[in-house]
């Protein structure tokens, strides 16, 4: 690998910026009751559609303004981050475990295992993912665990396809052959030799998938199918903002910025981690 590429793809500022934003949102979500300036559910019709702090008519303590029911936007975003991050971590890890395991098996063992797993992936790819997610949540019932399960059921293929291809490449390498000659078992080789070499890809995909899970959760709560309507979610705030867009643009703008930064951070963070952990690039 030439040096120019390592320098250009260096993990430096990208990793810190993306990681910093994610850490900020994560900490705010964990300590939401302490850092949120207001009760995210408290309605006050005297305070409806207050603008953000730099505009005329803003109230102190309501930094990003309020929605049409007088609820504090910043507090709702902070509490919405809780749902977003729980879904991001749980769904991405579940999808990763299932997808990577199947991908590793298909790629390393090949033959019938590969044929069957690949056929299932083909079937999964024939579903429009958003519609599949909405359908699954409708069938499983709304709620946090349904959302997580639905995302994992749909997105394991993302891991499976990439890891299968990588494991296939790795299993043709000399070192795998050497390990076999040295008398290691096939499962031992898969776990001890192949897995560490595909791990950077798994880590990058995991981070990417967290961003995707955040989006899917937002989409589900946008169509009112995520968790109960009382709890603030980013998608729920966006749905509210889409309705009152001409009266209170900030109700759409702030959750949108939050979502875009979070999704970009997850994908950049994953890329940067991959560069850092890649045994070849490192």
């Amino acid at each position: 690998m030439d040096e120019a590429r390592i320098v250009r793809r260096g993990a430096g500022p990208r990793l810190w910026l993306a990681g910093g934003w994610l850490l900020l949102v994560l900490l705010a979500a964990i300590f939401a009751p302490l850092v949120a300036p207001q009760d995210p559910l408290a309605q006050d019709l005297m305070l409806e559609r207050l603008p953000p702090f730099w505009l005329d008519g803003a109230e102190p303590g309501y930094w990003l303004g309020t929605d049409s029911l007088g609820r504090d936007l910043l507090s709702r975003l902070i509490f919405g981050g809780r749902i977003a991050f729980i879904v991001a971590f749980a769904a991405a890890i579940a999808a990763c475990l299932v997808g990577s395991t199947l991908g590793l098996i298909a790629g390393y063992f090949g033959g019938w295992a590969d044929r069957i797993i690949s056929r299932i992936v083909d079937i999964w790819m024939a579903f429009p993912p958003v519609l599949f997610a909405i359908l699954l949540v409708a069938v499983l019932g709304t709620g946090l665990s349904s959302v997580i399960l639905a995302i994992a059921i749909i997105d394991w293929t993302r891991f499976c396809r990439v890891i299968r291809a990588e494991a296939m490449g790795q299993s043709r390498m000399d070192y795998v052959e050497n390990a076999r000659i040295a008398g290691y078992g096939r499962i031992g080789i898969m776990l001890r030799e192949v897995l560490p070499n595909v791990l950077p890809s798994i880590v990058a995909l995991l981070s990417l998938e967290m961003g995707i899970a955040v989006i899917v959760e937002a989409i589900l709560s946008f169509v009112n199918l995520s968790i109960s309507t009382d709890d603030p979610t980013w998608g729920g705030i966006i749905a509210e903002g889409r309705l009152s867009i001409h009266q209170a643009w900030w109700v759409l703008v702030f959750p949108l910025i939050t979502l875009i930064l979070t999704v970009l951070s997850f994908s950049q963070f994953g890329e940067a981690l991959k560069t850092r952990f890649d045994p070849v690039l490192r």
Binding site: F127, V130, V223
Partner: protein, 335 residues
């Protein structure tokens, strides 16, 4: 060779569709709630319930039920929508043209935008222009269509309200159309006032769908072009006195386009999948918007129908791309 490849693909496609049918059937049957109980008025006797169960084949084993259901689907009998009380297939075909028009307009935009960026980036390789294109396509790729849709609503629906952000066509207009392909038909009828109105409604959702795909095309095609531009025959063309743009358009493009073409086919199915939420966002009356309504109303027959039609569309596109690739790839053509 080609025919053999086609037959193998056709067979895999049928297996995939069968698998989709199994998954849909299982998912729908897992749904809590007795479908029969929902159909009957309160106070129905056990006898009534048993009779209705037999009528719908629900007293048979699950495997028998599946094949009864599947034989209906194969004959085009997708059942009756519970919420709209109409034939499912009719409803789906009524909405499908709107979604196809949106997806195709988005695809054309993605190819034009991505292609232009790729050619520009390849021509200006190594300069700030290429770096700018890389950053722009990186951002366009990382942000999904749902968020692009919201950004566009804010920019061109609120900040500078020049495009419509809701619906497929202005409701006050008198529509002379006999098909559901409004855009296509408005052009054929030379009613360009209607074409313009339709395009004004379609532009924002289409851009939201097109941006991520345009980014992929820009990145991949630029890479392929840069590789081809160093080959001998391209260098010869340059020696003959063609300008760099001419070299790219006349010599390099047709050889660099093949990998992009394959990828665009696969990505086009993702774009169609994206119409579901983007149509919702822009209240565009297509299949995806109807699908979300169907889920909210727990209209299971309608959901089944829509999912199966989407799946059929996806595998057909993949088949078409695969065949196109085989036809265009000289190695496979003469193999």
């Amino acid at each position: 060779m080609l025919l053999q490849r086609f037959l193998i693909r056709l067979l895999t496609m049928l297996i995939t569709l069968f698998g989709v049918a199994v998954v849909v059937f299982v998912v729908i049957r897992v749904a809590p709630g007795d479908p029969i109980a929902m159909m009957l008025p309160p106070g129905a006797t056990d006898d009534d319930i048993a009779r209705l169960r037999a009528l719908y084949g629900l007293d048979k084993t699950i495997v028998q039920q599946f094949f009864i259901w599947l034989s209906g689907v194969v004959r085009g009998d997708f059942g009756t929508s519970i919420s709209l009380r109409q034939d499912v297939l009719g409803l789906v075909f009524n909405r499908l043209p709107a979604t196809l028009e949106l997806a195709i307009v988005a695809l054309i935009m993605a190819v034009l935008l991505g292609g232009t960026m790729a050619i520009l980036g390849a021509r200006e390789r190594g300069t700030a222009v290429e770096a700018g294109i890389d950053i722009a396509s990186g951002a366009a790729l990382s942000i999904p269509d749902f968020l692009w849709g919201l950004v566009l609503i804010l920019l061109f629906g609120v900040l500078v309200p020049i495009f419509d952000i809701s619906g497929r066509v202005s409701p006050q207009l008198d529509l002379p159309f006999v098909t559901q392909f409004y855009l296509f038909e408005s052009v054929l009828r030379l009613r360009f006032d209607l074409t313009w109105d339709l395009l004004k409604h379609m532009l924002m959702p289409a851009v939201a769908l097109a941006l991520p795909l345009a980014a992929i095309i820009a990145q991949l095609l630029k890479q392929s072009l840069k590789e081809v531009l160093d080959l001998d025959y391209v260098v010869q063309a340059r020696v003959k006195g063609f300008s760099e743009t001419q070299v790219i358009l006349r010599e390099a493009l047709k050889n660099a386009a093949l990998p992009t073409l394959t990828l665009v086919g696969v990505q086009f199915t993702f774009l169609i999948g994206g119409t579901v939420i983007v149509e919702r966002l822009f209240s565009y009356e297509g299949l995806g918007n109807m699908a979300i309504d169907a889920v909210i109303n727990r209209d299971l027959p309608l959901i089944q129908g829509i999912v199966l039609v989407f799946a059929l569309l996806f595998v057909l596109i993949n088949l078409a791309v695969d065949m196109m690739y085989a036809l265009l790839n000289p190695r496979l053509r003469h193999g």
